[in-house]
Every structure is written in C-alpha cells, then in structure tokens.
Amino acid sequence: MTKLQAKNIVKHFDHNGNSVVALDGVNLNVEEGDFICIVGPSGCGKSTFLNIVAGLETPDSGEILLNGKSISTPGPDRTMVFQEGALFPWLKVIDNVEFGLKMAGIPKDERRQISQRYLDMMQLTKFADSYTYQLSTGMKQRVAIARALAMDPEILLMDEPFAALDSQTRDLLLVELQLIWERTKKTIIFVTHNILESVILGNRVVVFKNRPSKIKKEIAIDYRRPRLMEDENLQKYYHQIVEELKNEVIAQIKDENQ
C-alpha cells in the first residue's frame, strides 16, 4: 500500500533577489513499512524535500499525499528527527519524549507509560530525569528518536540525524535503527549525504541530482539485515551510488567556482 506520494514537487528560494530552484519536479512513492534513504550532494534540495513532507515548508507547486490525503501543514503523523536533535533544553529527557503526547492531550499516566517504553527501547531509562546538556551527542540523538517514535507517527522523517556523531556511536546507532525499524514496522524516510549510511539503512536509495534538483535514480538494496558497516558485500551498492553522484559533485564544484 502506498503510504506517501510526492507529486511533482517544485520549490524556489529567493537568494539575494535571484530565484534559485531548490526542487524541480520531484516524484516519489513510499510504500508502507518502507525504509527510503535520500542521498545527494549538499544543496541538492534533499532536506528541503523532507521539510516539505513534514509540512514545515510549502512547495510552490505539487502535492504531498499521506494515505491518499493531501497535506500541507506540520503534524504529529510525520515526526522528524533533526540533525542537531532539537531537544528542548528546558525539559528533562522524559518530558522531551512526552512533549508531543502532551500536545496531543494524552493524560499524564498514559504519557508516562509510553515514554518509559521508548526510553527503554533506546536504553535511556537511567537518564529519564537528566537535562539534555548532561547527555552526549549520541544520547541526544537517541532521545530525539525516542521522542519521534513516542508519537507513533505514520512516517518517521530523519534529516541527517547521525551527521554530528563520532563514527563508533554512529555505527552503533546504524544497527540499532535497523532493529527498531524491524520491530516497529515504521515507514522511514532518511536523508543523508553519507553514501555508506544510505546503503546500510535503505531498502531503496533515492539519488538526488543538482541543478535542476530532482531524482536521478532509485536503487533497490536487496540484502539481509542487520547490515554492518564493514560488510564487503555492500561495496557494490556503494560504488553504484558513488558512480551516480560523481558527475553531480563535479558539476556542482564547477558551478560554485564560476
């Protein structure tokens, strides 16, 4: 069943009075329970696309359909994990995880139950009463994932959530995220500039191209899970995507030097 459909999404930005094309007709279908990774050179509009799906930005034209219904505003059915976590420093970890549930008017006892469950899942139980500054970057991202999952969204949106992590922590979370995905059966759209990350996580890797920004290719990754960073068999997928992106990056550097 199609969970999410992006139809011909176009978005322009105003840059010093010039109109810059951020997205030039993006079409994407995401099936229920799918794990989609979007990769592309920086500035290719992949994060803009995710923001549009989240309803945080509006497209100039085109449409996003969730379960067949058009959406244009942010909503707890599409929760986002941001690159820098975006946790609230004035709240304890547990209150961060419960924030969306509180906004949804869920009573306190029920909120506690739900948040405990996701804190357990992310191995954060001990830190429930900590403030966010007391956590490492990796733990903050765990809290952000727990917070997004606690809302039980239709789709989980992840915008380069591991970009700021050290490599050991990231490798660990790459495995954890696969296990969580298998356990929760969530539909996930994961944006990254890291190709190996996309190969490890995605059922399908969507390669964005630059100028005009649209989807260049979709590559299915049909391989057993959990996939590990050091698995040699992933190399062929990796090289396939590198090939796709190589020309893009060269074109972009030329562009920027002009």
Binding site: G55, M80, A86, W90
Partner: protein, 266 residues
C-alpha cells in the same frame, strides 16, 4: 561526590565573603586616612565614624526606614506596570511585524534615553507626587522590557519552533510550552537591565520631585550641608541595589542557566 561539590562551593563562598570583607576594610581604612589628612573640611569629608552616627540618626528618627519603604513601594509598583505593559507591547511587536520592526528601529534611542530627562515632562504632566515619580520610573524601564521581550522571542533558534510544530504544538500551547521557556534566559537578562534602569530612575526622580524617599534624603542632606546623611543614604542605595540583584535576579538567572547547562560560561 555531590557532598564534595557542596563543601567546595561552601569554601568558595567563604573565600568570596572574606575577599569582600577585606576590600571593604581597605576602603574604609583609606577613607579614614584621607579624612585624617584633612584635605577637605569635615563638612565636605566626614569620617567613617561620623557617617555611622548619621546612619544611627536617620534610622532612629525613622526617616531612613520610611524612605526605604516609600522608595521601594514606588519602585515595585512602577516596575510591575513596566513589566505588564512592556511585555504586552513586546508581544504585539512580534504579532504585528511592521509595528515591531518600526518600533525596534527606535530602540537604541529609547534605551539610551536618560531617565532624568523625563522629570520635567512628568512634573508638568502629572505633578510633584507619587504618580509623577512612578511615571518617570515606568518610562525609564518599559522600553527595556519591551525590546527584550521582542528580541528574546525573535532570537529563539527556529529549530525549536520547527520541532514543536512538528510534534503538533500550535496556538497558545506553542507559546506557553515552547516560546516562553525558550525565551526565558534572555528575558531574565532584559529584566535585570530594566530593574537597574528603574532603580536609577526612582532615585533620580526622588531627588528632584519628592518629599519622602531615599532620593529625598539625599537632597535634604545637600540642602542642610549634611554630608554624613548624604553618604549614609548613598550606602543604603548601594546596598539595596546589590541585595536585589544578587539575591533575587541573579539567583533566578543562575538557576535557569544551570538547568539549561549554560553555567560553564562563567
């Protein structure tokens, strides 16, 4: 481990108090020496002991306690009005962008406007009474509250708002649970500044407009050539300013900084 931190903190506090006491002792000592050198006549430069006896006098004839009560009463009432109105205008500046931008472009002039310059205006508009003084205090502190409300909210990192909206927060809940707490550390800095403007203003206005109050004691001291009384009043003003900031506003600020994990900047 937390015990160790507490005892470390205690000894740090003791150390700070000892330093402050030493500083005061040196200050009073130098004062005494200058007095004994006899450069100025006693009427212009009384000794520490003479000021102490002036203190005793204005305390026992109740003019100092009464002055403190009256001054703080005016200040607190006027400051409350400043906070209420200033916050409302600040929020209106956020809500109506053009209005906010326009008013904000005057902020440098409004913030640096000397409080004393409101006194003649207030005398002619309202008169020599409590409300005249309160008007000066309000005008001197309200812009600080207003501009700090506006800029504190505008400077909230957009990612907090995005995250909150993404989790379904909107309308008043968004304001109450995200905008307000996110702006709080910066709002408190604005509040401390507004408080210091209000404190300047109330003393200045009382010197020129009042028949009771701490500022009035200063001007009586001047009129009767009573330097002891002037200095005693100045010391009181200094002490109140210190106590309010140190034990109220700073504490509040410090608590929030700790909670947010910002205290390591000190």
């Amino acid at each position: 481990m937390s015990e160790k931190i507490t005892s470390e903190k205690k000894s740090q506090n003791l150390h700070d108090i000892a330093n402050a006491a030493l500083f005061l002792a040196v200050f009073v000592g130098i004062w005494q020496i200058v007095f004994m050198l006899g450069i100025w006549p006693t009427i212009s430069m009384p000794s520490p002991a003479m000021v102490a006896s002036s203190f005793a006098k204005i305390i026992s004839n109740l003019s100092l306690p009464e002055g403190i009560v009256v001054t703080l009463g005016r200040l607190v009432a006027a400051f409350a009005v400043s906070i209420a109105l200033g916050t409302l205008i600040g929020l209106a500046m956020i809500r109506f962008k053009g209005f906010g931008k326009t008013l904000n472009s005057f902020s440098a002039g409004l913030l640096s406007f000397p409080s004393i310059a409101w006194v003649p205006f207030s005398i002619l508009l309202i008169g020599f009474n409590d409300f005249g003084i309160m008007f000066v205090v309000i005008m001197s502190s309200i812009f600080s509250v207003m501009i700090s409300t506006y800029s504190s909210i505008r400077n909230i990192p957009p990612i907090y708002m995005d995250a909150a909206k993404n989790m379904g927060a909107k309308g008043f809940a968004l304001f109450r649970y995200v905008t307000l707490p996110a702006a709080t550390p910066s709002l408190i800095i604005g509040l401390r500044q507004a408080w210091s403007f209000a404190w300047h203003a109330v003393i200045g206005a009382e010197i020129l407009m009042s028949v009771v109050g701490l500022g009035h004691i200063l001007s009586v001291g001047r009129d009767f050539l009573d330097m002891g009384e002037v200095i005693a009043s100045m010391i009181t003003i200094f002490a109140i300013g210190l106590v309010v900031d140190r034990f109220l506003l700073y504490k509040l600020d410090d608590r929030i900084r700790r909670k947010w994990g910002l205290e390591r900047h000190h």
